[in-house]
Amino acid sequence: MSTAVADSSTVRDRMSALWRRYRGENNETTLLLLILALVGVMAIVEPSAITLGFFGDIIRSGIVTLALALGLLMIIISGGMDVSFPAIAIFAGYATITLMQSLGVDGAVWPFVVAVAMGLLLGSLNAVLVARYKMETLIATLGTQVIIRGVLIAFIGSVYISVLPAQLDAVGATSIMQLGGTQVNVLVIPVLVLAGALAWVLRRTMFGRSIYAIGGDKESAKRVGISVKKVQVAIYLVAGALAGFGGMVHVVLSRHASPFEIVGTELNVIAAVVIGGALDSGGRGSVRGTILGVVLISLVQNSLIRLGVSSYWHVFVVGLVVLAGVAIQARSAAATHRRTRILERLETAA
């Protein structure tokens, strides 16, 4: 898209200025155009596939990914990487259900609180390793992922639970509206509220600015008086809590609990966040971009059967689209020579 604009040399300067203005700090507009282009292709190839139910299915499929992506987004902005969130998520979700079963209690809201608390607790493991012992984040979370999953299967249980406690199961069957043939589950609301809250924290609070500052340059952040350690502890605790919540959303939406799930889907979530403009070296990323990244991945995953693509090609096509999304971000990151986003915003405003 941007090259096409650049080629028309007469209005080139004005167009590129305009583009810079509307591109979004993290290429959100490019991403949106890519999504619209994909939907456009679908509408031409298989017009009958574009139904309200289709969009309902995309929401249904993306909501857990989004819940998990929020915590990861914070960590990636701060210059870290996390692969333990799927283990934290399924631990919190599954352990809460087994706890409810063994105590014989039921509920609709408090299980989510318990899962969040468990997530927070498990996140503190990462916080200690990263903030106190200054371990490389990828290595630390790789370790905690294996440990958390091991403890889950060895001590909590490995049994497939096919029926959830009744009140909690009812949440999984409660919809706020119907899109075509698809029910939109009530859990969409808390996930979107959390996304909004995180966006606000990242843009408007000292804590949020500190996350960007640490990701941009840890040393400079330290010199302007940000306590890197404290911010890191907070990030990993909140990310743990968000993962715990996401795990519970997964369990309730799928209406069964199995300790062998979620772990293995981390690449989808990481891809969504990176496609959304979060730079793996830190300092960049937004909730808006992440939502678009999640939509892009869900869109591709839920459209291939509709388009009549043979299942032997599915993995290949999904990989191709993920690569395209990441390439757009990588190119633009190289092009801007890693200008800090604060400067960029001043420039755009001017």
Binding site: D57, S61, V64, V159, Q183, H250, N302, R306, G308, S311
Partner: protein
């Protein structure tokens, strides 16, 4: 100061880890010695993938039923606390000095057990396996059924439910799981041979062995092929995900769902017809078939093509044309809302 603290905690961790390991290996041996080794009794040990879990508990029910029907035999079951090949090797190693007459083994990874099973055979122990086609160090590997024939059996059930007419889709755990894809091919071949009115809408679809993915793919199939009236699933979570999608669409009565699973995974969906038939094999009978084969060998007999093991589904076992020590039963079962109570696994 800090470093002393750290090294103390390191030592503590190592000691604790060591204790844990000793506890584990002690535990696995106990099961067997408890079984009693009266010299007049023939001892057979059933080594399974992992201890606990409905599947192998069900196999142990079969073991004990067989032992009750065959006086003079004592059967015990043992396994590691997770499905790791290392633990299975260690357990079999520990069993060798106790000289059981026979081992009936369900390997986690057949290749990794070859060594220890060859030592068992050298020590004069009869080795019979299950779910390990191609294993070398066993007198016989008993499979519940031939995979292609099982696919045909699933198609027969689906066709019966669909009135021998309509479109169906086949879901597999992954396009690389050999058995799932042989089932899918077997079903398709049966449809082409016997049911001209039945048509598969697209290639077998992968669920990544994930129920949530199975659910999403099923929703997509329902949207894309509005006339679809049948599904077959291969991974145990496939029909649970498909059944959920069918249930939410309110099409329990219009769509037939047949697939490999267990009552503990998909049984709840049988009630309202979201899932119509669960197919599979009964681990209790598989356990009994292995024991029956062991007894034949211990009595000096040989396992041959067409032999009757005296266990339902294994009345006339077929020898694999490619692998001489591989034998198939026809021990598939179908579980519907009517008989689900008989299969507690």
């Amino acid at each position: 100061m800090m470093s002393t603290q750290r090294s103390v905690s390191l030592v503590a961790t190592i000691v604790a880890g060591g204790l844990l390991l000793t506890a584990c290996s002690g535990g696995s041996g106990d099961d067997v010695s408890d079984g009693g080794s009266d010299s007049s009794e023939v001892q057979i040990v059933n080594v399974v993938k992992l201890s606990g879990g409905d599947w192998f508990n069900r196999m142990e029910v079969g073991n004990q039923e067989w032992a009750a029907a065959n006086p003079g035999y004592v059967v015990t079951q043992t396994a590691g606390d997770d499905a790791s090949e290392e633990k299975q090797i260690a357990i079999i190693n520990d069993l060798l000095p106790q000289q059981p007459a026979a081992l009936t083994v369900v390997p986690n990874s057949p290749e990794s057990l070859e060594n220890v099973l060859s030592r068992a055979q050298e020590a004069g122990i009869v080795v019979i396996t299950h779910e390990a086609p191609g294993i070398e160090n066993a007198v016989a590997n008993i499979e519940a059924f031939d995979n292609a024939a099982y696919g045909g059996f699933q198609m027969d059930l689906l066709a019966q439910c669909m009135g021998e007419e309509g479109q169906y889709a086949h879901m597999v755990g992954s396009l690389t799981v050999a058995s799932h894809n042989v089932w899918a091919d077997g079903a398709l071949a049966q449809a082409e041979a016997a049911y001209p009115g039945i048509e598969r809408v697209t290639d077998a679809i992968s669920s990544d062995e994930d129920q949530e993915t199975a659910y999403q793919r099923a929703r997509e199939l329902l949207a894309t092929y509005p006339d679809i009236s049948g599904f077959i699933g291969a991974a145990s979570t496939d029909i649970a995900g498909i059944g959920r999608a069918v249930q939410e669409a309110g099409m329990q009565d219009d769509i037939c769902v047949v697939g490999t699973s267990t009552p503990s995974t998909a049984g709840a969906l049988l009630e309202d017809g979201s899932v119509d038939v669960i197919t599979g094999w009964d681990p209790a009978l598989a356990g009994e078939a292995m024991l029956a084969a062991s007894k034949i060998v211990l009595d000096g007999g040989e396992i041959v093509d067409g032999m009757d093991l005296g266990i339902p589904g294994y009345e006339s076992i077929t020898q694999d044309s490619a692998i001489p020590n591989n034998f198939f039963g026809a021990a598939w079962i179908q579980i519907t809302s009517e008989n689900v109570a008989d299969y507690p696994f």
